[in-house]
Subunit: 239 residues, 2 copies
DNA sequence: CAGTATAACTTGTATAGGCAAGTTGTGCAA
DNA sequence: TTGCACAACTTGCCTATACAAGTTATACTG
């Protein structure tokens, strides 16, 4: 039995993307929706609030829910999405090259980021993402061995997240990330096609499991001309 | 009469920031909270879901709500926050210099971004943000005259958002933004302290009112060494 | 005709109750 | 002691109801 409010949300979201409900016009009222979907108004409201949070509709008290013009040309770095999922969604001609894989040795910055001691075993994976022939992105992932005991080259070339969530069944919950611009390191220059570029965009992420334990630290290093981050934000008023 | 779930949310959020509830430990259960706050469980759940969305807690079915270690050193470019609010919150020594103010003339890219015709009147404001003596940020804002009939130099030096929300009482609802890295323009070089920098971080925003009409287009151009974007993201699983 | 009261809609908040599903500890049975 | 069933907790989902608050169209009143 699927969750009702989620199925309704997904159905309405797809309908909005397919222009069943035209942008600028109103959705049916909550009462109408609750009868058509044969459910309670609260369940409808849960679905509509999800649509509102994700930029599909704008709710106005007393009036209704207006459909927002969704330009889903979005490159959603927002949210936690793996590179495999991303390139699949966008239909990109992409390739992943595993540069190195193994336990790290005396890397204080990584141990500091993960809160581990130098004696703890930590996987280090360096991967190059090639998009239409150009080496654009350098991903450096670090996993605590306690949570991820085994990592093979095949899983790294495929999707680590798929392995972690479906094979290991670890519940990935949330991430804190920051985006900054830095100067390329020697490694960046060696592994990426950076001729002529003097900056690199670095996305640092701390990824946590459901029990709030930190289990991964990641640096995703992007060539600046190919980097794009799209966000939808609601205004919050402070009183 | 304040909204109950909001006051409970704010109270718990402040308590978590003040370490009343230690990170890694559990909040009281929903039933306990509903008795202490003399309210229903659903109201408590609304407050807790807000805490969860904003990265304060992690809810686990069957167990409880674990407090997340919030590092609020965050520079929240996420969400729609004005520069005035931002520098106030962070206690920065900042200054705003209005470089130019008036109606724009034949700027096709702006008219294209705003969906206006060349004949339509559009305000253009260019402001330089100085932080501890250095000119770091160049903000170029464009407003449709239909919504914002008057703009004075004083309001621009203070806070345009304050003017728009409190004086004009326009309901700012949401924004679509993108972050990219580009080469500085001649104007960037003229107005900012950019010596030695060959890139600039550009945040482009389309800002909408509650009735989903577009009313503002903004380019916020940051010197790359001072730019930082922090985000909290929850993992969404696709089936 | 102009203005206003009002009815009929809309969404927002709050409550009470029920059942499902996951976790944890207790105590009984082998 | 070990293992298992179960009770007692937790959060997740759904329903039904009530009232508040904002919008809109209608009809009435001056």
């Amino acid at each position: 039995m699927q969750k009702k409010y989620l199925t309704i949300y997904e159905k309405l979201a797809k309908e909005i993307e397919a222009k069943v409900w035209a942008a600028g016009y109103k959705l049916p009222s909550e009462n109408e929706l609750s009868t058509t979907y044969d459910t309670s108004r609260e369940t409808i409201r849960k679905a509509l609030n999800l649509l509102s949070q994700n930029g599909y509709i704008q709710k106005i008290r007393g009036k209704g829910s207006i459909v927002i013009d969704v330009d889903k040309f979005s490159f959603p770095v927002s949210g936690i999405v793996s590179f495999k999922e991303l390139s699949q969604n966008l239909g990109l001609d992409s390739k992943t090259i595993v540069d190195s894989l193994g336990f790290i040795e005396r890397d204080d910055s990584v141990h500091n980021a993960l809160g581990t001691k130098p004696a703890d075993a930590v996987w280090g994976v360096t991967r190059v993402r090639e998009i239409s022939g150009e080496k654009i992105i350098l991903d450096k992932d670090y996993f605590i061995e306690e949570h991820v005991p085994l990592l093979s080259e095949e899983t790294c070339a495929d999707s680590i997240y798929n392995y972690i969530e479906n094979k290991l069944e670890l519940p990935i919950a949330f991430a804190q990330k920051e985006i900054v611009v830095e100067e390329p390191t020697a490694e960046d220059r060696r592994l990426l096609d950076l001729s002529g570029f003097s900056n690199i965009v670095v996305i640092r992420s701390h990824v946590y499991l459901e029990d709030t334990t930190l289990f991964q630290y990641t640096e995703s290093r992007h060539r600046p001309d190919k980097f794009r981050f799209v966000d939808f934000a609601r205004r919050v008023k402070n009183p």
